[in-house]
């Protein structure tokens, strides 16, 4: 024993240095490729704009930096980043378990419905109780909605890609029905729910800006999910199930249970994103509560290589592009479709560069 220990101790330093070097070089490779992918996509976007008679570089510059004018505009970016980070980080967990949850959009909607219900039907609670209760309701509803697809998968081997997409339609149409029917604010002309009671609102960070504490919750949850995946036993099991379900079963892991946990975590974060949209931004439920955050969240997870920590950055990037495109619409004649094309290119080049990164990894 003595000898073994000594041997280990002697080798600790060079080994640690080597390990650190490897970790850093791997991290550099991991970081460089998504950045390169984004730059390539933007360059293509600029070229495309130029072909359409616009000054491409100017437009792209506006798209990225145009929205960084003052504290208020940065706060607006962070407001948009909140649902993207939440959904992106949640999807990282599902994707790591090889669960292709395409239903974050629907999970966001049911989260918004549940939050609206809790936020409008209860009154007289303190903000310390009511606001968290609304968030919890959103998360639980989102998890349950995703859980339907999860159950269909583990019980009947139904493809979650199909079922989650179907559940998206159901959730979105259900929202329309509720705000035009049972949950409609009787005094309003438009299809919208009653206003949430003030105690149910997600507290703002600065009183005169819309940005609410949801962004902090999103960042904390993304970090927590990273630790969960990399450092916890359950996270390890999720990853093994995702990488090799046969080996997981051989090792005695409950594949079905892990699948359910992974899809419900991703649903919970999407549902929470929905709760924040209602309780933090609009304070009422509307028909189109989400401009497609649930789908953009897939791209956020993809750009982050299914790493919840990186989803904070990629979520921020997509929020920036989204804000930039709004600035563009106001200040120039660039049609919004072109902005969507650029966003699409980012996703395409991320996929292409992911392949490239694998090649680099092997070489390293």
């Amino acid at each position: 024993m003595e000898q073994v220990n000594q041997g280990v101790r002697e080798n600790v330093y060079p080994q640690a240095a080597q390990a650190l070097y490897r970790t850093l070089s791997q991290a550099a490779i991991s970081a460089v490729t998504p950045i390169a992918a984004v730059l390539v996509a933007l360059a293509f976007g600029a070229a495309l704009l130029w072909l359409n008679g616009f000054n491409g570089t100017d437009v792209v510059t506006v798209m990225i930096f145009g929205s960084f004018q003052d504290a208020r505009s940065v706060a607006e970016i962070l407001l948009k980043a909140t649902p993207l980070i939440l959904i992106g980080a949640g999807l990282c967990v599902a994707f790591r378990c090889s669960i292709w949850n395409i239903g974050a959009e629907g999970q966001l909607y049911v989260g918004a419905i549940a939050a609206t219900f809790v936020g409008t039907s209860i009154d007289g609670l303190s903000v310390w109780v009511h606001a968290p209760l609304v968030m919890l309701a959103g998360a639980l509803a989102g998890a349950a909605w995703a859980g339907i697809a999860g159950y269909l998968k583990v019980r009947f081997q139904a493809s979650e890609i199909v079922t989650t997409i179907m559940l998206n339609y159901i959730a979105i149409i259900l929202t329309s029905y509720l705000v035009t029917g049972p949950m409609k604010d009787a005094s309003a002309a438009y299809p919208q729910s009653a206003r949430l009671v003030r105690e149910a609102w997600t507290p703002r960070i600065v009183s005169d800006m819309r940005l609410h504490i949801g962004i902090l919750v999103a960042v904390v949850l993304a970090v927590a999910l990273y630790i969960f995946l990399q450092r916890s036993s359950r996270g390890f099991a999720l990853r093994v199930v995702g990488l090799n379900p046969h080996a997981a079963r051989y090792a005695g892991m409950d594949v079905r249970r892990n699948v359910m946990i992974a899809i419900c975590i991703s649903g919970a974060l999407a549902g929470l994103a929905g709760a924040f949209e209602v309780a933090g931004v609009t304070h009422r439920l509307y028909q189109n509560i989400s401009p497609g955050y649930g789908f953009e969240g897939i791209a956020v997870a993809l750009l982050a290589s299914n790493n919840p920590l990186a989803a904070i950055i990629s979520g921020g990037l997509f929020a920036t592009l989204r804000s930039g495109s709004e600035v563009l619409q106001i200040t120039s004649q660039v049609p919004q479709v072109l902005v969507l094309v650029i966003q699409g290119m980012v996703i395409l080049s991320v996929v292409a560069f992911a392949k490239f990164r694998d090649i680099l990894r092997i070489a390293a």
Binding site: R231, S232, F236, A237, Y250
Partner: protein, 514 residues
């Protein structure tokens, strides 16, 4: 033979990052010979051949083919020069037919489709000529592994080659299929073709080749005529020391019954009857072997024992406790270790590190986990200890296990399963696809386990493996145990007959069987 060799490889070097795959290889192949390339895993055989057929480009050195220096940028260029290779992992599209696979990537699709009848006719003609039994309209996914290999060989012949390279062709074959393949090599040579065949099975190499080149550490260390050597000498050249499959061992001292299987019956994953009423006992301190041609229910038997396949009837009792049909987690926890047949499917997760692979079953148990979080220090220490004790060649415990050679992967699986301190160890194919050094090591380890009082069931298609370490050998055929023999090489014929499904009754009355 002739002064100018058919193919000459001159001082080829190839590096993959820090790994030197070819370290100045020089090799000559004569026209019309069967040249075997022998070596342990990781000796650089496959890489060398991949460079000849255009899959990999050498860093340095020259390939001279029919007197001309050549450099192929793709397998297609090599095929054009009539060099073709059949890889260890087949390169066929499962949901296409044989003929469709052959014409993939062959110029204009329209032209080829017009010629489809000709393609079919040519395949049939070649198939008949070499008695390959390949139907041009068969779907690849319906074919057995042996059939798929014949399809691969015929594909290369279809494109017209003079030099055929076979990479470990017998690794996936039953003994009968192996015989057939070796005969085919002879036929090809008769038709004026040259065959290079990679293997690490000494007996096959001795049977068919004219010359044998032995590779070690990225170099050709010897080239010898088969007539002038023997298996023992070759083995010595391969590992650089003497190996005999005679491992020193003391007689077994069987104790109490650890595992008892009664009348076990189960079906395969496709629902066909696979195990038909198998009964056996394994005692503490003995190694029981199960011999048989692959596909006779051994896979299903091991999956059913370990809880991965539902049991239709019968009982499995471990240490007096009924474990029939329990979840794998419960079976794993009751002193049951399993070294699986298909390492890449069940045994390991290729893209995870060695550390992560060593805690596959115990990821949520102390000392590897506390309060739901992994204890990375304990996991690292444990893994380093296993790496050291089992001499797993690796950079460190954080290396991806997929980067290791098959032999080192298997050593880690064996290390993990033994470290779980089992009472019973189920082994299916202990030494599949691993080199002699590693094979000897894991076998000795099994003997040590036996001597320390563990019960071991070794299922194998390799008779040498069974003879070397088993205390008694059961023979399985068509899902049944047909008989039991001592590990005595002199009774090989009897064993062979049992493996072919001929029981003692048949032996006594051959007239009835005929």
């Amino acid at each position: 033979m002739s002064a100018k060799p058919f193919l000459r490889i001159d001082n080829i070097r190839k590096r993959f990052g820090p790994i030197i795959a070819s370290d100045g290889v020089t090799l000559e192949i004569d026209e019309g010979e069967i040249h075997a390339l022998l070596g342990e895993n990781g000796a650089g055989k496959s890489v060398l051949m991949s460079m000849i057929c255009g899959m990999v480009r050498p860093d340095e050195g020259e390939i001279v083919y029919r007197g001309q220096s050549v450099r192929f940028n793709s397998p297609r260029e090599a095929i054009r020069q009539r060099i073709g290779m059949v890889h260890q992992h087949f390169m066929l599209v499962p949901n296409l037919t044989v003929a469709e696979n052959y014409i993939l990537g062959q110029g204009s699709a329209l032209k080829v489709i017009n010629d489809m009848d000709k393609v079919h006719a040519k395949i049939r003609e070649l198939s008949d000529h070499y008695a390959l039994d390949v139907r041009p309209d068969a779907l690849i996914e319906d074919l057995s592994v042996g059939e798929q290999q014949r399809v691969e060989i015929l594909k290369v012949l279809f494109h017209g080659i003079d030099l055929l390279i076979l990479d470990e062709p017998t690794a996936v074959l039953t003994p009968q299929e192996t015989d057939r393949l070796l005969a085919l090599m002879g036929e090809l040579v008769k038709d004026g073709k040259t065959v290079v065949f990679i293997s690490h099975k000494l007996d096959e190499v001795m049977r068919v080749s004219n010359r044998i080149s032995v590779m070690r550490d990225g170099r050709v260390v010897h080239t010898v005529n088969v007539a002038e050597t023997d298996a023992r000498a070759l083995a010595r050249m391969m590992v650089g020391r003497d190996v005999g499959m005679e491992l020193p061992r003391s007689p077994a001292a069987p104790g109490r019954i650890v595992l008892s299987v009664e009348n076990l019956t189960c079906r395969s994953e496709t629902g066909l009857p696979a195990v038909r009423g198998v009964s056996l006992d394994v005692r503490a301190g003995e190694i029981v072997g199960i011999a048989g041609v692959s596909g006779n229910g051994q896979t299903e038997l091991s999956l059913a024992l370990s809880g991965l396949l539902p049991v239709d009837a019968g009982r499995v009792v471990l240490n007096g406790t009924d474990i029939t049909g329990l979840e794998p987690a419960r079976i794993n926890a009751s002193g049951f270790s399993h070294i699986p047949e298909d390492r890449h499917k069940h045994g390991i997760v290729l893209s995870l590190s060695l550390s992560e692979n060593t805690i596959l079953q115990r990821y949520d148990q102390p000392p590897f986990a506390a309060r739901g979080m992994l204890n990375r220090r304990a996991i690292g220490e444990h893994t380093r200890d296993l790496i050291k004790r089992f001499r797993v060649k690796s950079r460190d415990e954080d290396q991806r296990i997929g980067d290791l050679s098959g032999g080192n992967q298997q050593k880690l699986v064996v290390a993990r399963e033994l470290a779980r301190n089992p009472d019973f160890i189920l082994v299916n194919q202990l030494a599949r696809g691993i080199d002699i050094g590693a094979m000897e090591f894991v076998m000795e380890e099994m003997l040590k386990q036996r001597d320390s009082g563990r019960a071991i069931l070794l299922i194998s298609t390799e008779l040498e493996e069974l003879f070397a370490i088993c205390d008694r050998i059961l023979v399985m055929c068509h899902g049944e145990i047909l008989g039991e023999l001592p590990p005595d090489r002199s009774r090989l014929d009897e064993l062979g007959l049992l493996m072919a499904g001929k029981t003692a009754d048949h032996l006594e009355q051959p007239a009835l069987a005929g």
